[in-house]
Symmetry: C2
Subunit: 248 residues, 2 copies
């Protein structure tokens, strides 16, 4: 139980916890996208499991300018980390210390490493505490106007042309049959190609929302039919973007 | 484009926008779960589309103690609102005013009304700006240790016993075949019944996460196998909870 979320107290919960800290998706003040509570909490933590040490240090310095980074312990957890290395990362909890999990951007364990370490913490019955922060999945869904009572996030689509077209058609069919919004992402330099593939593959009536640079200076969330998209001069090249489809 | 999210400025974007304001899920300081930016922004807004006027007023007073509530205009949007009434709610935007959307708890348009008004705003090419805040769907997924690369939120399950068992089996099958975490909710007074149904219906190896009172004083996020759940004395009666399943 996390008793101290209840009020604005600065102390960390007495029971050691695995805190999941979201990280901003774009530049700008932390106070735009993170509750003050997260910043107060992170200052008392000495052990961190991070996707990338450099960006985690940068984030911590932004949270607390006078932080003593050299007094902190970092474990790296990314796609290359062998699963066998994860138990040692949770060792500090056995000694009564809380640990913070920090991914490169967005929410730890969502479309991100991190889930393995949370799963192990759950197995050991440790206290796990997710914190509030920006999620492009959730914010794009809110802004799309699509069904938020039923939705699925599907990660990346296949790259190979026919497999991708098949997957797009599957998602369109599911959005129609189940009235379930379908969400997916793409590597930024392939965004325009993906939109072109959607135009080539899906029904002209199907609605496509493209949300780009969420929380950033050039944020844009735009819902149009596939037919309307085909008539625009879209350009999302190298911009972080997320895609949602919904039946008309 | 929302130029002013970039920095900590207090002014509202020059272009009128439909701002989607998340609301806390539990009592406690706003600074625990909302970025300061949301509070600065909401103070400059005069028009609100709200799920419930009483709770919206309470939230606004919490954001700003000296707010002049009587100077604000509220439109009610809930499950009973006829779709034909929605266009008039967006009228202030045509006159250059921003509008705030506030649901009872959590994120507008996610498992909540609000999506219809966002859809209309998108049709009219208005600027839509979702803001950061607590989501029990996302936070429970982060804390579950389940796959966050692919997941689906399914809303409420059928109440009728055999339809519910069928739906549970469908979700378990999908979680297995597609490695997709399946998330659903229940009316709080039926939580214990739902867990009992899951124990009766799903494979003993399937993992079930129950997340209750997210961000509240008694927050608990617990992942166990269905077999392990069957041996615990669980009691989530009348506690807001969310349920996630994942293949073992």
């Amino acid at each position: 139980m996390n008793q101290n979320i209840e009020n604005g107290k600065q102390n960390v919960a007495s029971e050691p916890s695995l805190y999941l800290f979201p990280v901003p998706l774009s530049d700008g003040h932390l106070s735009n996208v993170l509750p003050e509570y997260n910043i107060r909490l992170i200052k008392d933590i000495r052990y961190f499991i991070v996707e990338n040490v450099r960006s985690a240090r940068r984030f911590l310095k932004k949270c607390c300018h006078d932080i003593n980074i050299d007094g902190l312990t970092f474990f790296t957890l990314n796609r290359q980390t062998p699963v066998a290395e994860i138990p040692a990362m949770l060792q500090p909890m056995a000694q009564g210390h809380s640990i913070g999990v920090i991914s490169e951007a967005g929410c730890p364990a969502i479309a991100d490493p991190g889930a393995d370490v949370v799963a192990l913490a759950q197995k050991k019955h440790y206290n796990v505490v997710p914190l509030v922060g920006p999620s492009s999945i959730l914010m794009s869904l809110m802004g799309s106007g699509f069904n938020g009572q039923s939705f699925a996030f599907n990660g990346y689509l296949p790259i190979e042309k026919s497999a991708r077209a098949q997957k797009l058609r599957d998602l369109e069919r599911r959005s129609m049959r189940e009235d379930q919004t379908q969400i997916f992402i793409e590597t930024p330099y392939r965004n325009n190609r993906l939109i072109a593939d959607i135009i080539d593959t899906l029904s002209p009536q199907t609605l496509l929302c493209v949300a780009s640079d969420i929380t950033g200076a050039s944020q844009s969330i735009k819902t149009l039919s596939v037919r309307e998209w085909s008539k625009t001069n879209f350009n999302y090249d190298k911009t972080p973007a997320i895609f949602l489809i919904c039946h008309a």
